[in-house]
């Protein structure tokens, strides 16, 4: 029986085998692969990497693996669940005793969502953020067109600014009449 601390300092089995001849970059790539398989608990079609909330993966001078996580919304209840999912996935993959750093700056915005993440959302029936939060159009308050993720029509209307989770608003398509979630721009 190997205790967690020993496993970590001796390089864990999974990480160790992948790290042979590779060094830090290979070990870090292995961690990213583990994180890519961690699903967001509320939108399981997205991984936490797609969501853009993993900020760094690195071994620091304290000899421990540090993974930086940023919350999407300050009060998002999924944050705690995500942290424990990450700890679980990492230790199962042999990266025990990792330190999860809470990173606030720069703050998360919907721009952090990856292209792959946006495609997955659409395929799942959630309209991805329609435009960048830093776009000039938004600055002047121009209304945003949110295309329907089911039929692609641009004739949609907002039902509510808020939806089933903090990151979503509620829309309806006036062509296919399907109600849908919109991953809101913030």
């Amino acid at each position: 029986m190997v205790v967690a601390a020993d496993r970590e300092s001796a390089a864990p089995p999974t990480a160790g085998s992948q790290a042979v001849g590779g060094g830090a970059a290979t070990r870090e790539a292995a961690v990213w692969r583990v994180l890519e398989a961690v699903q967001d608990p509320e939108i399981p079609v997205l991984s936490i990497v797609d969501l853009g909330i993993v900020r760094h993966v690195e071994w620091r001078d304290d000899g421990r693996l540090h993974v930086g996580i940023t919350p999407t919304y300050s009060g998002c209840p999924a944050t705690e669940v995500i942290r424990s999912l990450i700890e679980h996935a990492l230790s199962r993959a042999g990266f025990a005793n990792a330190v999860l750093d809470n990173v606030l700056s720069p703050p998360w915005t919907s721009d952090w969502l990856t292209e792959k993440g946006k495609q997955k959302l659409r395929a799942f029936g959630i309209a991805p953020p329609a435009e960048s939060v830093s776009s000039v159009r938004r600055l002047f308050g121009a209304p945003t067109v949110v295309p329907c993720p089911k039929c692609g029509s641009r004739a949609t209307e907002r039902v509510s600014e808020f939806g089933s989770t903090p990151c979503k608003a509620h829309y309806r398509c006036t062509v296919c009449l399907e109600p849908f979630d919109y991953f809101k721009c913030i």
Binding site: P71, Y73, S74, G75, C76, P77, L104, S105, P106, P107, W108, T109, V133, V159, S160, E161, F162, G163, S164, P166, H170, K184, I186
Partner: protein, 249 residues
């Protein structure tokens, strides 16, 4: 208690108490969409309070966590504005209270992004994005209700008339505010006031509401002097933690 700690507690308690008030609407709002809107706003506010209270605990240096500070302090230790502890009343009154505070938080968080206190600056940058969304929601409803039916107009105007006296406190500078402004930690309230004022005027005008006259005196919730409503709110919020210390699930 040093000035910085008190300043952070003012921000934290204001968000926490308003978040708790909005939580009272869950399951009772006039429509499902508004139930979600108020609950989501409450969640953001409580999230902001958590970050701020964690920081306050570190500043205090007595090993108190966010939970210890939220659940273990008494009424006079809470430093929130008296505005946010006022009862919800009807939906119109809740939304007027929200507008007055959202517009204030918008200005404060905007300025705090440039605070000499790096921790406050990053919390503010995070909170600002959420606050913009809150403001759009509350301002949108104040306009709809104010410029709505005779009944809705009457109700929000009367809420505004009643709550206006609590806005004086937002800009009533005291030693803490001045010390923090001088240290570059906090913005000067005198500079924020005209911006808040014109933002509010813009909404009230579109909502066909009349801005009430300023009150000649002020409460000082931010010094721990509260109206009678805060105690009841805390009793409900803190009951479990106090009855079963250390309870967890």
């Amino acid at each position: 208690m040093n000035a910085r700690l008190r300043y952070v507690l003012r921000l934290a308690d204001t968000s926490l108490v308003l978040g708790q008030r909005l939580g009272e609407w869950v399951g009772h709002a006039p429509a499902l969409e508004e139930d979600l809107g108020l609950a989501n706003t409450a969640l953001d506010l409580i999230g902001q309070a958590r970050m701020l209270l964690t920081y306050a605990g570190e500043l205090e240096g007595r090993g108190r966590s966010e939970d210890d500070l939220a659940m273990g302090r008494d009424q006079s230790d809470f430093l929130n504005f008296a505005l946010v502890e006022q009862p919800n009343g009807d939906f119109g009154r809740t939304i007027v209270r929200q507008l007055l505070l959202d517009a204030f938080q918008l200005e404060v968080y905007e300025a705090l992004q440039r605070s000499s206190d790096a921790r406050l600056a990053e919390i503010a940058a995070k909170a600002l994005k959420e606050t913009r969304y809150h403001f759009r929601y509350s301002a949108g409803w104040v306009v709809r209700l104010g410029d709505g039916s005779e009944e809705s107009h009457r109700r929000v105007q009367s809420a505004l008339d009643d709550l206006w006296r609590f806005t004086r406190e937002l800009f009533a500078e005291d030693d803490i505010d001045r010390e923090m402004a001088a240290a570059g930690v906090a913005p000067s309230l005198a500079e924020l006031q005209p911006r808040w004022s014109s933002r509010i005027d813009e909404v009230l005008q579109e909502a066909t509401l009349t801005r009430p006259a300023d009150a000649p005196y002020s409460w000082f919730g931010k010094r721990g002097e509260h109206t009678e409503h805060l105690g009841y709110l805390l009793a409900e919020m803190q009951f479990l933690h106090r009855a079963y210390p250390g309870a967890s699930w």
